[in-house]
């Protein structure tokens, strides 16, 4: 946060002055997910089935796209208790998956933000052209 323009802070300070340029943190994005992708996008796959999740007793807030790694981790921990340091490999896999997921969320936010800024620019240029 040392140098001049910190986008972390400018994101929410912009939401105070110009709220229709900042994407929502809670709602779904307004723009279509496939807009601008000529060759389409890969869908995210979930490898663990509902039944696996049920029998592994994974809580609902953890039933995301990394749940299969979590099931393997829990299984390893249950088998090796109390020597939990033996499960570092599975833990690293799950952590890596969560990290990728977070980065993907950041990218989604940034994409939505740029699309909103583009819309704003178009709107302003149209208004300037009308006058």
């Amino acid at each position: 946060m040392g140098t001049g323009n910190s986008q972390y802070i400018s994101t929410f300070t912009e939401s105070w002055s110009n709220p229709n340029v900042v994407p929502s943190v809670l709602d779904k994005p307004k723009h279509d997910s496939l807009e601008g992708f000529e060759s389409g996008r890969q869908e995210r796959q979930r490898k663990a089935s509902e039944e696996d999740l049920y029998w592994a007793k994974i809580p609902p807030n953890r039933r995301d796209y990394c749940a299969d790694h979590l099931i393997e981790l829990q299984r390893c921990r249950k088998l090796n208790y109390p020597f939990l340091s033996k499960c570092e490999h599975y833990k690293h896999d799950w952590d890596h998956c969560q990290n990728e997921d977070t980065i993907l969320r950041m990218k989604e936010f940034e994409r939505e933000r740029r699309l909103l800024k583009r819309d704003e620019r178009k709107r302003l240029s149209e208004e300037a052209a009308m006058e």
Binding site: S15, V25, L26, K28, R41, R44, R63
Partner: protein, 171 residues
């Protein structure tokens, strides 16, 4: 103002104690109750001798309804203001034999109320408290609708993509 509070609370304490069932009715034990406020010079000298003071040192509390009769006024000095290194007969009260006891001594022992001048006056305390509270409330009022957040999209759960309305993609 706080001296007034001490004197009045001392009277209240005595009154409360006199109404309790575990203590005798008179708090000033009958033999030790202070006499009337001295009006003549002879009465003053007799009172000074009674309390173990020199007549020129003896000064009773003023007779304005908040006094204690002829009990002397020993000044705004509490036990913790007295020297710790003096050689006292009674180290807890920091008192030697025969020395007169302050009227509210039970409240101003070293582990209770101190009569020393405070570094921060009461008006300063009130001012800074009100200042801080108004600043806090004011900031809340002005910034209530202005939120800070982590700039990240909401988490994607597969259960929301199964019915086909929402679709989750990679980049």
């Amino acid at each position: 103002m706080s001296r007034l509070a001490l004197v009045r609370s001392s009277i209240l304490y005595n009154q409360v104690r006199s109404f309790s069932y575990s203590r005798p009715a008179l708090v000033f034990a009958r033999d030790f109750k202070p006499g009337e406020y001295p009006k003549t010079e002879a009465e003053r000298r007799a009172a000074a001798k009674k309390y173990g003071l020199r007549p020129e040192d003896y000064e009773p509390l003023p007779d304005n309804g908040l006094g204690f009769g002829d009990y002397p006024n020993l000044g705004r000095i509490s036990t913790d203001m007295k020297s710790d290194w003096g050689d006292y007969d009674d180290p807890y009260l920091k008192r030697n034999f025969g020395e007169p006891i302050h009227v509210v001594q039970d409240q101003i022992t070293a582990d209770k109320v101190s009569l020393a001048k405070t570094r921060v006056s009461f008006s300063q305390i009130v001012f800074w408290f009100l200042f801080g509270s108004f600043v806090f409330i004011g900031l809340n009022y002005l910034l209530w609708d202005k939120k800070c957040f982590i700039p990240i999209a909401p988490k994607q759960y597969p259960r929301n993509a199964l019915n086909g309305e929402e679709k989750h993609y990679k980049f």
